[in-house]
């Protein structure tokens, strides 16, 4: 049987309070007493029972991370950064995939709240988070959103500089002389809209009329990337290339790139000679294609770290009853030019 703090106290000839103080350093204890306690701890190989401590302190040191699409490397990288950051604060992430399904997301959040987490980081499926009001009614759990905007329940948010990133990408295409530029995004959400806004801004600034036919959105998300090879985006791209005189394509994220570039490859269209290409999201395999693909790099690990910092700081602030206004943090993007434009 595992020894409890009582055994330690008996063996050391002190009270359980003293053992606790020594173990946690929560009160000054005479050196000799402390030594007696530590000896007993060693002798019994005592280890604190974390279940009891969590219960007593009313905390679990666990942060739920509910992700819209864990098969997407972008979100996996966010998870990586989050894990790293939480570690430093003494917290641990519980990872949950909601597969771009609002219902699964809600179930997961409810379930997670019912299993004692101290904080919640959400990469939202869709915008509406009114349901959190109800669910968090009886909980004191701070929330941080990452990657997409939300409504219905306000909290901290971490986003990329999507407008600016899209603007830079399209501007660089325009500078190369392109005027017939398509924007092909993944499923329509706040993030895609923002990148589209960057696209429009660059065109507007250059005095190029905006052709709404050149703007497309996919529907397929959280399907295996293998299935994106010939999905909606693939079809959009074919349709665009066949019916319009476009000379450049800007894709809204790594998922859209799979279908769009795959079409260009299969159709034998030379990039960048015939059609220039640039994408949002810099995945390492963009260096493995022919030609290598230019991209607006995001910093998902950094976003994860920031999200982690925000939850932890908010937990601390709540414990100490400190005012802590909600923050919206934008992480800058970076243009990475390769051979495709």
């Amino acid at each position: 049987m595992k020894p409890s703090i009582v055994e330690v106290a008996q063996l050391a000839g002190v009270s359980t309070a003293t053992v606790s103080y020594v173990l946690n350093g929560t009160k000054r204890v005479r050196p000799e007493t402390a030594r007696k306690v530590m000896d007993a701890v060693d002798k019994l190989q005592y280890q604190i029972n974390p279940l009891a401590r969590n219960f007593r302190k009313g905390e679990s040191k666990l942060i739920g991370f509910v992700v819209c699409d864990l098969s997407n490397s972008f979100f996996q990288d966010i998870a990586l950064g989050l894990e790293q950051c939480l570690n430093q604060y003494g917290y641990r992430p519980i990872l949950i995939d909601s597969k771009e399904d609002k219902q699964i997301e809600m179930d997961n959040v409810r379930n997670l709240l019912g299993s004692s987490i101290d904080g919640l980081v959400i990469a939202p499926t869709t915008e509406d988070f009114t349901y959190l009001k109800l669910m968090l009614r009886n909980h004191n759990v701070p929330v941080v959103y990452v990657d997409r905007k939300t409504s219905g329940y306000e909290s901290d948010v971490v986003l990329s500089e999507n407008v600016e990133g899209g603007y830079q990408a399209v501007k660089s295409l325009i500078e190369r002389g392109h005027r017939e530029i398509a924007f092909i995004g993944s499923r329509r959400d706040s993030t895609m809209e923002e990148r589209g806004e960057g696209y429009r801004k660059a065109l507007r600034e250059a005095g190029i009329p905006i052709n709404e036919n050149y703007i497309r959105y996919g529907d397929n998300m959280s399907v295996s990337q293998r299935n994106l090879l010939h999905g909606t985006i693939y079809n959009h791209t074919r349709e665009l290339v066949k019916n319009y005189p476009i000379t450049a394509i800007f894709t809204g994220n790594n998922l859209a790139t799979v279908g769009a570039f795959n079409y260009l490859m299969e159709a034998g269209i030379k990039v960048p000679e015939h059609i220039a290409f640039i994408t949002f999201d810099d995945s390492f395999w963009l260096s493995m294609t022919t030609p290598s693909l230019s991209a607006v790099a995001q910093h998902p690990e950094e976003m994860g770290r920031i999200a982690g910092k925000l939850v932890c700081e908010r937990i601390l602030a709540t414990q100490r009853n400190i005012e802590n206004p909600h923050q919206l943090i934008r992480v800058p993007t970076k243009l990475v030019l390769r051979r495709s434009c």
Copy 2:
């Protein structure tokens, strides 16, 4: 203040025992009594305190997943399958990256054990797990290894059919007339050895002498995949191609592929005309290269699911004191031929 089970009992006019029985369905209760309890629960919006319950039951419903390299999509996919499976058993994964560092792995395992997990899934960094004996001395925590063999602490293991997979890959190269075939693996570990063994087996069977110069291992793991573009494997490949009459390359995993194929691209070597190429690990981006790359597909999600099943079953078996001998499960691979050989 959150209501406790006592408030519910008072409002319903029953004992806390009865409330507990109703809520958990652990004993038959008269329908009217049950209704009274449920009414009180609704009225107070009572939610069970999971911290208290965990403490009382001595379980956390948490499984630690300590992964050697979480930046590798292979392990991310294992995590995906694990999460899925655990869900069904009512468990949750805590995700930890040990970055191919034995020390970090040990620290994480110790730390995790000190924070109340019910089971442990480990994707090992290196083989030696003698340390687990010590750490698990006072814990009743089942362990499952995934992807690599271990020694020093026996438990369930989930592995790919590495020998057979390597054998199939190299056999298919031999069938295409290749005799000067190189094997370029990632860091040398049990898994790489097994794939190398498959390579040798195919050559032996075909009566082709084995040239040890054709067998190379990298050292670089858990570096960003971007850094693999020009790493050790890249250099090995260049050296091989420049100094030996090889006509085909078999890479040991997705990481090795990055450096090896990148060299071939940069050197302008035609694949498969000049050098045929096949790799272990089927990543989706193998369809995005020119030419698309053939691969021995593993099933990481399935491996994760199996690992999850094994821990959960072992937890159940332990609770019921059922004998449960350790298992070694091999997941079959599948040859996926594309344009590179």
